[in-house]
Amino acid sequence: MNADHADLEVRFAAPTERDLPPGRHNQHREILMNHMLTASGQAESAPARHNRRPRRRILAISGTAGGVIGAAAVAVAVIGTSAAPSRPPAGGHVASPVGGHAASSAATSPLIQLASYLTSSAHQQTGDATLVIRTSTYTTSGASGSYADLYTDSGAYYGARTVSGLPSQIAAHRNLGGGMFARAIRAAIFAAHHGSLAVARKRMADDPAADSGSAGSEPASNSAAEIAKAKALGGIKPAPGQSLAAAVNAALFNNMVWVNSVNALVAGSGNPEVRAGVLRLLSTVPGITVTHAESEGQRTLLVIDGDLRSTQTLTLNASTGIPIEFTGGAGKTPALTVTYKVSRVTVAAIAAGKF
């Protein structure tokens, strides 16, 4: 016990440490070793200078944000910035499935269409940060909480329970980003402006060689029994000639693309370049479906990752790609619903308490 804070150790004693559940240590170790051996021998290099977003001419912009609707309805974010496209891509029927495996139909994917629209349209950026008011609600317990997330264009992240808590965080230089969001945003911007989605995926997954190392380069060593076992379990199914280990690695890699892309979409939601890049990247993740929907008179895209048993759904504004809602859970009722209210701001204004 450290004498300097023995009082705290006594008063706020945490539960006794536990081992991982039986067998899990070796499983995680095996996955880590497999990942290290199949991934690149080199750590990720510093991002190239050309990944930096070009300077933009700043025009007048309103900077308003969307509203968050109640739990029963799909939340709708009304984008009031001039960065929003004036004419959205085609589509917009209520709940009309438009894609199976998005990766196999990238050319016609609504995500690609919207991404192309965002990158080809003239956009003006205002402010130097994106403010996201995030509200999480857990269905089972009814617990909910709101948070104010401030993502600066330079990669810093400040968080507080309310917007009014942000100025003190900024003043104290409490950047919680740790480079995580900045990396993902850089990868998204790269994806928006470069043709190689394979490279963009690697950057988004934070491992330059994980894709090639896990998505088919491994020698075919799978047995019929392995494939049958995987099929029986559902979920991860090795492709013909692909080992179960390779399939697991591919699943891990695609997971990183999905997780980091959604992080980038939220953190960079005020930047159409980021949104465009994320949409392109999401279109490459196997198993994702895209559905047009409509709520409160606003067209949305539902990006659905999962199957009938368990699903994550990301709801986007169909015209702007700005995230509106994220749900996750099994069955028809999501276990968790997160809504986002996005606006462009300046760090100086937030720091000065001008909300």
């Binding site: 705290l8 008063r11 706020f12 909910s144 980003g177 699943a251 994550q312 996750g328």
Partner: protein, 224 residues
């Protein structure tokens, strides 16, 4: 337990997979428990632990050439992941589940009740500490619960040692105002009062054969 040989730092930095494996053996439990104390959820903790080592491997070039145990660095990564990774990796979880079923694992049902008790205890602690800023809570978790020294906590959080001291001092001052009654009384009703969101859907557990087979049925994850 710490990684036994500080020399592992150099080997890990150079990309020696075996060295990372040794570090994993030495530090996985510590990272796992630290993540649990931050998230209040054992399954989330397991995911954070797994992601911590993958992230450590990805960022191995950031390991300082000199120093001792890599544990503070790993705990710092885990702290960041627990803080920022609101939406866990369902595919990662699914991948683990496949391996879990593939292996013949002993059932750990007897362990479940104890883990549920732990979760209730840590939830109560989080509620009691709800008034602390997140930074102060993280310092408390590292120093008080994980037993790091000030310098180690500073390394984990990449802040000066003085900052660690001041945050812990501030936490102590705030907590001193709490009465024992306030510490034991649940607060906040249904609202989340602490600074962290739990990473997983309530009630989810991970591990064991039966549970592993139910991973996809029990809900996938949450978002940030």
């Amino acid at each position: 337990m710490n990684d036994p040989t500080p020399q592992l730092r150099a080997r890990a930095r150079a990309g020696d997979a075996d060295a990372f494996g040794t570090v994993f053996d030495a530090c996985a439990k510590s990272v796992y428990n630290h993540a649990f104390r931050l998230t209040g959820d054992w399954s989330a903790a397991e995911e954070v632990m797994a992601m911590t080592f993958l992230e450590a491997w990805r960022g191995r070039d950031k390991i300082a050439p000199d120093g001792g145990s890599l544990r503070p660095w790993l705990l710092g990564i885990a702290t960041n992941l627990a803080r920022g990774q609101r939406r866990a990796a369902w595919r990662h979880r699914a991948a683990l589940a496949r391996l879990a079923v593939a292996d013949e694992l002993p059932d750990f049902a007897e362990d479940v009740s104890g883990r549920l008790d732990d979760a209730a205890k840590i939830k109560a602690l989080h509620q009691a500490l709800a008034g602390l800023p997140r930074h102060d809570l993280e310092v408390l978790a590292l120093c008080v619960w994980s037993g790091l020294g000030y310098a180690e906590a500073a390394e984990a959080l990449n802040v000066p040692v003085g900052t660690v001291r001041s945050r812990l001092s501030r936490a102590r001052a705030r907590l001193a105002r709490l009465t024992e009654g306030e510490l034991s009384r649940p607060r906040g009703g249904a609202a989340l009062k602490n600074s962290w969101e739990p990473m997983t859907v309530p009630g989810q557990l991970m591990g064991g054969r039966a549970i592993a087979g139910q991973v996809n049925k029990s809900g996938k994850e949450e978002g940030r």
